[in-house]
Symmetry: C2
Subunit: 234 residues, 2 copies
Amino acid sequence: MKQSSAIHAQIRRDIEAQIMAGDWKPGDRIPYEHQLMATYGCSRMTVNRALRALIEAGLLESRRRAGTIVSHPRVQRAALEIPDIRDEVAGLGETYRLHLDRREIRAATAEDRRLLQIEEGEVLALECRHDAGGRAYALERRLINLAAVPEAAAIDFAAEPPGSWLLAHVPWTEAEHRITAFNAGAKELVALGISAGAACMALERWTWRGDERITYTRQVYPGDRYALVARFRP
Amino acid sequence: MKQSSAIHAQIRRDIEAQIMAGDWKPGDRIPYEHQLMATYGCSRMTVNRALRALIEAGLLESRRRAGTIVSHPRVQRAALEIPDIRDEVAGLGETYRLHLDRREIRAATAEDRRLLQIEEGEVLALECRHDAGGRAYALERRLINLAAVPEAAAIDFAAEPPGSWLLAHVPWTEAEHRITAFNAGAKELVALGISAGAACMALERWTWRGDERITYTRQVYPGDRYALVARFRP
DNA sequence: GACTCAATAATGTATATACATTAATTGAAG
DNA sequence: CTTCAATTAATGTATATACATTATTGAGTC
């Protein structure tokens, strides 16, 4: 029994339950605040607090004078959580190890500029391999925009995975993911120890802070032994 | 300028901005509520409302007597939005078309029971193909637990994609996704019109309502012309 | 120093009240 | 019947206040 016994929490749970049970369907109007006041014998502020939480959560919508209705579920809000590779390996009970294959600070090349959407400047380019239990788990290539994150130039990414460091130290406002499947080429064949033409999964991620792009990364996983799995709530 | 001019919204934006700018780092204590009252010249209820919203959003944590601190970013909250296939195709400016290849109501087989975690009962099994602009876009296989969603038995899924119908009509409390890459077999070769051994992406999804599994689906996309793309905020 | 316990200071919850804002409804004028 | 303005009923925001809850602080004791 960890649930709060606060009135607002109770109202919230009750309304959520009614919606989940299908008693109140999308588009239905739920009771007015003054009716809920009477039902629960509490003040409007308390009812309002419960409703506002459900509105922020996207379960309800309200319009002045018209009342509050159950939202139509928005498909695109189904969200897939993408874990940190080091945590993920640890979660499998395997020993994690990072191999830094390349680390270079350079003036942005044409491709760097395209991926980070910058006019000029320096980037930190990294290439590494994530191992789990002595076996290759994923390949990662990463660009960090040093104009946005100058302190990254001083970090030893042979010790801490770049993704873990960035997510722990740099707040971000927006990101974009791109997941694709492709047939392994010579590079993956050698580095991941898979057969020619085997299906691989590529996960690319761009991360912003405000208008500025912080980092770009492309991670490659062997398709036959990797699944991107995530559990989530709406 | 769509942002609210309410005081609580302003406080919320200001705090968020301070965190994003790095002025307040994870673990730092932000000003006490009574200090923010003084800063903004408003009541504690108003300050509290702003803070509560940020706490629910996971940006802050608070402890009685100790104050409110900036949360340590939780990596696993990076979330990938997965769009509805029909909307996705429409968003590409292509004409969407659904081909229902198979529709069967049957007593759950051993595999159905495993995928839906049921002891017995009837399931609705569907197999369909999603086309975009006259070309195969994805294959879908779906199981619907008729004990959980009896009304699905009466729906004409040749007209409305099963995923669109379910998400619009059945609220869910939890879901799990699994994304894998694999080499195309004979089935994909014919149905998607791709070459033997080409990399494909499979997206599986289980959806719960409470303890009950509502549906299982497996969608297959051709790897060379499909990317799962999503933009999101933390 | 180590333990106990009371005082204190922060957040958590709830109330009664007030006025603002919005949109549905009503009623009057054409 | 249509149009337009006034009324009204709902939510949105904000305040001042009160008491509950809890972790820290600090004083007193062994």
